[in-house]
Symmetry: D2
Subunit: 127 residues, 4 copies
């Protein structure tokens, strides 16, 4: 089973929420989530926690891509634009992975390519 399939099988909560990892590289990853009615919040837009769940799975895929276990220690997310039904995409880049702490930026965008949220994640790497 390849890396991507393996990730999608093991992450129970991401799977429950409909998040799909589509690519894992060396310190990078990409994923998608189709926003359906059960992903909305009380004002009818995509729930911030659903957006976070998508980004968090992509963060986990990228930060664990080097073969070590890496666990999230801190995440900062800014919501830049409300969005409704449709597909959201998330892409992780690795800012730094020297030593114990890895830093990743995950950009979440909508179908028109506009940035919906910015997610900065720090992972602690267990060797």
């Amino acid at each position: 089973m390849d890396k991507v399939k393996g990730f999608n099988c093991k992450d129970a909560f991401a799977a429950y929420c409909g998040v799909e990892i589509v690519e894992i590289g060396d310190g990078t990853a990409r994923g998608r989530l189709e926003i359906k009615p059960h992903h909305l919040n009380g004002v009818g837009t995509a729930h911030g926690a659903a957006i976070f769940t998508l980004a968090d799975a992509v963060f986990a895929a990228a930060s664990n891509s080097h073969g070590h276990v890496a666990v999230a220690i801190n995440i900062n997310i800014s919501y830049l634009k409300a969005t409704e039904l449709g597909v959201l995409f998330a892409e992780a880049v690795e800012n730094n992975a020297r030593g114990r702490i890895g830093s990743y930026t995950i950009t979440i965008s909508d179908e028109t390519g506009q940035t919906v949220a910015l997610f900065e994640g720090l992972a602690y790497r267990k060797f």
Copy 2:
């Protein structure tokens, strides 16, 4: 229908994930989430995004408690302790709600009362 029931009905994603708001005060709120197998991550502990979803619902309940619509603009979460199956609790306090920006601290704890994560949320208030 009271405030708490109303909140639980309207927040579709929180309901889908099993989050339950149990109390809403004036700038405060409390909630709970029973961590079940579908809330776990790839290493068998409660998923960071499930913990976030619980805290985010409590944040929304507290920041909207004054009767204005308040939307999340930034959240910072630190994960302090891994946890497994069992009930998680989250409680919001309001640090500030003067003007347009409200600041809330949400503490997430496990059944033994230990802090699992700390969530700082900023909301933009629409008058």
Copy 3:
């Protein structure tokens, strides 16, 4: 030389900015900064970076209080209230210091006791 004097002597930048640590406990610390004209920003209020510098020194004092070297890896600061000339106070509490990562909340307040800013710091502990 005691802990507090030692800290104030060694932290060159905090000293240059006028920050004074006044107490160091077990995972805790308190400090003060008198805001003078050279601590202001372009709109005549206490500069966010001066407020940060005060809080950061208190964070360093608290996170290094156990006798290990601890270095800052992430800080999140929210500015809740503008303030002008006068004394600012900062106080650190330790949320967690198990294992490698320590979490601290530093509250910055003015002479009337109102919260000016909230600072969450994560430190990596070198054993």
Copy 4:
């Protein structure tokens, strides 16, 4: 007096710390700070608050570049690499400036071009 000179004159604390803004564009800015002995911390590396002060001035320059007053509401900074004496550079890009909230990423790098810290700033724009 041009925009850059004006900014450097008005920001008292940045000037006191030796920060120099060198360019202001439309939602962007660049600055520099020569790290001297008084910018060091207790372990002899560039103080996190000095690095923050550089980035914060660049953030202010970029977020005020459109002619409105914009004030910082939240900043998240991750320290990726320790650095010693020498020049640090900071550059701001604007992620979003629709409506009341502007989001900016400031990258701080050393003379070799390596990233020293990542700073995410949110500003509230007063119209």
